[in-house]
Structures are given as C-alpha cells and as structure tokens.
C-alpha cells in the first residue's frame, strides 16, 4: 500500500435541493496507486462525476461535502488551504470534463484557454508566448486533430462536439500530471476515434508513469483500458476488482445485472434489464440502495448498509450475500 497516491475515504457529498438534501455520494471509498489505471463505472447519475469533482474541489456551490476525506500523498485535499490546493490543481491532478460543450468558455479562443492552463501551471516560470503556443500545438496534435493552429484560433462554437471533447482532453494533457481524471472522454466520439483516444491515454500512463482514473458508464470501455474497476451504484461503490476478475466473476447483483443488459456482439437477444428504477437520493431508504431492485435482497439488505468486504485479495464487494 505504499504506492497509494490518491485515496477517497468515506466521502459523502450532498446537493441542496428544493425537497431537501440529495445524498448523492454515500460514503465512497476509492484508491488509486501510482502508475495505475482505475476505472469507475456505473450508470448515469450514480455520482461518478460528483465524486471526482470533489477531488479538485470543483463541485458547484450547492454541493457540499458532508464527511469523508480525500488524501493525496497523505494530505487531505478537503482541508487544504487555497494556495496548496491551487498547487495541486496546477501541477498534480487534472480532470477532463465530461461535458465538452459546457467546459469551454464560449467567448475565448481555444488557444487562449489552453495558454492560460500552461501559464498558471508554473507560476515561478515565465512562459513565452511561443513556448506556450508550441506546447498547445503538441497537445492538440496528440489528440489527432489536424491543423492545430487554426483550431487554437477558433472559438468553441466553431468546433463539432467530438472536436471539443478532444480539445478538453488536450487541455488535460498539455501539462504533465501525476493523476489524470478522465470523465467519460469518449462519449461524443464514435468508436473508432474513441479507440484512438483510449490508446493515447494508455500510452501516457505507460510512458509517464501517470495514474489514470477513467470514468465511464460502458463496462466494455473499462474492460479494454483499465487495471482495476470500481462499480458504483446510486452513490455507493458496490464492487471493486481487478478488471479480469470482475468480468469473470462479477459478485454484486447490480454488476451482474448490468453485465447482463449490455448487448452482446455474439447476439442472443437482450435481457429484460434490471427491474425497477434508481431510487431517489432524497430521503433514501436505509440499507443497501440496490435492495429495491435486487433479486436476492433479504430483510437485512433493506435495513443496513452493507460494508465493503474483501472476497479476494483484490476483489471486494459491498453485499450481505458475501458476508
């Protein structure tokens, strides 16, 4: 456990809404080791983005961290002072946003925005304009966009969704980091381009000894890219396993259900889908959040929240069926 770089411990994030607090992130535990590619999967709205944004403390104002800690190199980011936090944001951790069209400021050119990222990545050093430009061009090239000069001079609205997504990725790559959080970086791209991007991220980790957190709702993507997968359901991490383990031997009923729903290239029709819908985050029932949809749920599941139990050295699951 010595090379544990980033770890999230019992994080709870709540959103303030008109009906009360939406207890969206419900005690998430997650670790990333140095040079590791970690996947976070789970369906839409399960709190992946919220959890990750907490790492850089970039959640919206209405989100509030109720409890938990986020340790980076042993230090709690949530308690850090502003200057230190800025240091980490500038050099250590970067997050690639999920919504490329919202993530770029509409009134500045792409170049302007990327240059600012470079400029503030090292406050002691004064970058010349040329330096910044060439770094930016390299980054754009790395995400396979031709004609980088023109792209740098254009405004976000002039680019297609796929381009913007790649620009966002380039922005995360333009300064080398220890941890890169990629929040569904492939959704606006078609499979062939998506594949290219994944390869790029993979290479970066390999070459630069970087750690990657890959957020996706596609189990297939996670399977191709990452070493270890955290499965999230409704604000909880329900299962953590090495990639191969997870697909070979999924334990949590949700993981099993999810795998079942994925259309298979081998055909054979599609399962009925998981029964029911995601429960409300406001005043959620106590107990396991999956209980209402779980075919194997028992009384205890509805009353207590299962804790993470190791089934294997590297495979743990939060389910009473395994305790």
């Amino acid at each position: 456990m010595t090379n544990e770089l980033l770890s999230i411990k019992d994080l709870e994030v709540w959103y303030k809404t008109y009906r009360g607090y939406a207890k969206v992130v419900n005690g998430v535990n997650l670790t990333v080791n140095k040079g590791e590619k970690v996947g976070v999967v789970g369906e839409s709205g399960c709190g992946k983005t919220t959890t990750m944004k907490s790492i850089l403390r970039m959640n919206v104002q209405s989100a509030y961290v109720n409890s938990g800690e986020i340790l980076y190199s042993g230090e709690n980011i949530l308690k850090m002072n502003e200057a230190k936090l800025q240091e980490i944001r500038r050099r250590d951790i970067a997050m690639i946003s999920q919504e490329p069209s919202a993530a770029l400021n509409p009134v500045f050119t792409i170049g302007e925005q990327i240059r600012d990222v470079i400029r503030y990545s090292d406050t002691k050093k004064k970058f010349t304009k040329e330096e910044m430009q060439s770094k930016a061009i390299d980054a754009i090239k790395s995400v396979m966009i031709s004609d980088p000069e023109r792209i740098l001079a254009s405004y976000p609205y002039q680019l297609s969704g796929g381009m913007k997504q790649r620009i966002c990725i380039a922005m995360g790559l333009v300064v080398p980091r220890n941890v890169l959080i990629a929040d569904e970086p492939g959704t606006a791209l078609d499979v062939t381009i998506q594949d290219q991007i994944h390869r790029l991220l993979h290479n970066l980790v390999e070459e630069k000894d970087m750690s990657l957190i890959m957020i996706t709702h596609s189990l297939g993507v996670a399977r191709e890219l990452v070493d270890r997968i955290h499965v999230m359901y409704a604000g909880d991490v329900v299962e953590v396993a090495k990639t191969d383990d997870l697909f070979k031997k999924p334990l949590h009923p949700y993981t099993i259900g999810l795998l079942d729903c994925v259309p298979k290239l081998s055909g054979g029709g599609i399962s009925e889908g998981i029964y029911g819908y995601v429960p409300s985050y406001i005043n959620p029932a106590p107990g396991c959040r999956f209980a209402s949809r779980c075919p194997k749920a028992t009384q205890i599941c509805r009353e207590q929240k299962p804790s993470m139990t190791s089934v294997d050295a590297e495979h743990s699951v939060a389910c009473f069926n395994y305790q």
Binding site: Y15, T17, Y18, R19
Partner: protein, 298 residues
C-alpha cells in the same frame, strides 16, 4: 369502473399539481425577497379593492376641498398630512392604487395578447411574416418610450384613456420580440417537429404547443412590466397626461407635490414611497416568478 377512473384522475391531478406547486413555491420562496414582493403585491391589490373601507377619509378623493386644513403636516388625524386642497394624502394614496393597477392591467391586457400573437406568427412562420413584423417592432422600439407616449398622448386628449392607449401602443413590441425569439427556437425543437409530423393544425402548434412554453417568460415579464407601466403612467401623469382631478394618481400627486418641496414634503414623499412600494413589489415578484420557472437541476 368508470367511477374509479375518475377518482384516479382526480387524485393524480392533485398529486402532480401539488408536487409542481411545491416545487414552484420552493424555488419562489428560496429568495425571501420574492416572498416580500408577493406580500407587497397582495397588499397593494387588497388596498386597491378595499380602498373605500381602508381610507380614513374616502370623501377626500371626490369633489372636496377644505382650505382650512390645507397643507397640514402629518398628524394623528392625517397620518400622511394634507395637500394644498386640504385633502387627506393617505386616503388619496390608497385610492391611487386603484388607478395604477387599473392602468397596468388594461395596458397589459391589450399589449400582451397582441404582442404575443404577432410574436408567435413571426417566430413560427418566419419568412415575410417575420420580416414585416420584426421591422415594425424595430420602428416602435427605436423611439424612447416616454417620447412616443408623449407624442401620442399629445395627439389625443390628455386623459387617462389616451395615456393608456399611448402606453399600449409602445408596449406590445417588447412581447412580440421576446415571443418571436422563443417561438423561433421552439419551432426547431423535436416536440414541434413531432406535432407537425403527426399532422397537427397550425392553430394547435401555435397555441397548444408553443404558447404554453412561452407563458413563463411572459408571466415574468408581465410582473415586471406592471411596475414599469405604472412608472410610465406616473411619468405621463407627471407631464399632465393622466387621471383628471379630483381622481388621485401617483404621478400627478408627485408632480403637484414636487412644486412644494421641501416644505410640504409629505405631498411628494408619501406618494413616491407608495409607488416605490408597489413597483418594488412587482419587481420582486417578477424576479421570484423568473426564479420559479428557471430550469436547471433541482
């Protein structure tokens, strides 16, 4: 079975409405100022409706003079003092709420439907409709409101009706502009496309599909506009175009009173405060309504 169905329907209507109401109220009341605005507006309306009951000297808004009690400073008899005719300012202010609300309601009752209809047509049909209607609004919008109103009102008799006509004439283009913009963008939305593909009539599309979506901005604007219409009304009556004596009107009271500032300050200050009260109310309410309809994650 039939009976059951009906019960079902009612309970569900109620539930979803109640739920909506709860959400709207939450969004509205999140800002305490909006609630204050609502209170101010409700109290203004109550004051207007029950003016004869509330006003301590209701006869002072009719043919009445009392020069022995003229220009009295506020006292326990005359809370807001008396004017140069010896009339109770408080009573006159209370009655002035009526005229102010009346004017705003009439003006908006005409300007909003007209402006909205033209806007829907311009925005949805586009083409020549749009060109003609939008340029027409440009022309009306290119003259400052007060000047347009003044020139129209000076053509007509200088009374309340003509200043209402003037204000109405200058008010509709704002709605046309706003609604046209919305209608144009909605007409690209899939739900409109769907209705078209199903074969719905133009009437249905304009009034059942697009219009309901424009209602909340229209409502928001209307709430704000009630205040603005009053302001313009007061300004026009400040220029002598408004209610005829002895009927009280805010602008006229202020304009009359301002001649006697600062000595007879109560003649100006109280009516000014009253109009500020009611305009403030509608502005806060308007903001509240706009918060209420504001989309965004809940």
């Amino acid at each position: 079975m039939e009976n059951q169905g009906r019960i079902h329907k009612n309970t569900f209507m109620k539930e979803s409405t109640r739920e909506n109401m709860r959400m709207y109220w939450y969004k509205f009341s999140r800002n305490k100022l909006s609630v204050l605005g609502l209170l101010l507006v409700i109290s203004s309306i109550v004051i207007a409706i029950f003016a004869p009951v509330i006003a301590p000297f209701p006869q002072h808004v009719e043919a009445f003079v009392d020069y022995n009690n003229a220009s009295l400073a506020p006292s326990s008899t005359y809370w807001f003092g008396t004017d140069i005719f010896g009339r109770d300012i408080l009573s006159r202010i209370i009655f002035a709420f009526r005229g102010a609300l009346y004017m705003s309601i009439i003006v908006l009752a005409i300007a909003v439907p007209v402006g909205t209809l033209l806007g829907l047509i311009a925005g949805y049909f586009g083409g020549w409709f749009e060109v003609v209607i939008m340029r027409l609004t440009d022309i009306f919008l290119s003259i400052p409101a007060i000047i347009l109103a003044l020139s129209i009102a000076s053509v007509l008799e200088p009374n309340l009706t003509s200043s209402m006509i003037a204000v109405t004439v200058m008010w509709w283009p704002w709605y046309t502009r706003m609604v046209a913009g919305m209608a144009k963008s909605y007409s690209k939305e899939y739900f409109i496309k769907n209705a078209e593909l199903i074969g719905a009539s133009k009437f249905h599309i304009l009034f059942r599909e697009i219009l309901p979506n424009c209602i909340s901005p229209i409502l928001t604007k209307m709430a704000l506009d009630v205040g603005w219409v009053m302001l313009i009304g007061a300004t026009l009556s400040y220029c002598g175009l408004g209610e005829q004596p002895p009927t009280p009107a805010f602008g006229q009271m202020i304009s009359d009173g301002s001649k006697y500032m600062p000595d007879l300050w109560w003649m100006t200050i109280y009516p000014a405060m009253a109009i500020a009260y009611i305009i403030l109310g509608f502005n806060l309410l308007g903001d509240g309504i706009s918060d209420m309809f504001n989309k965004g994650r809940q």
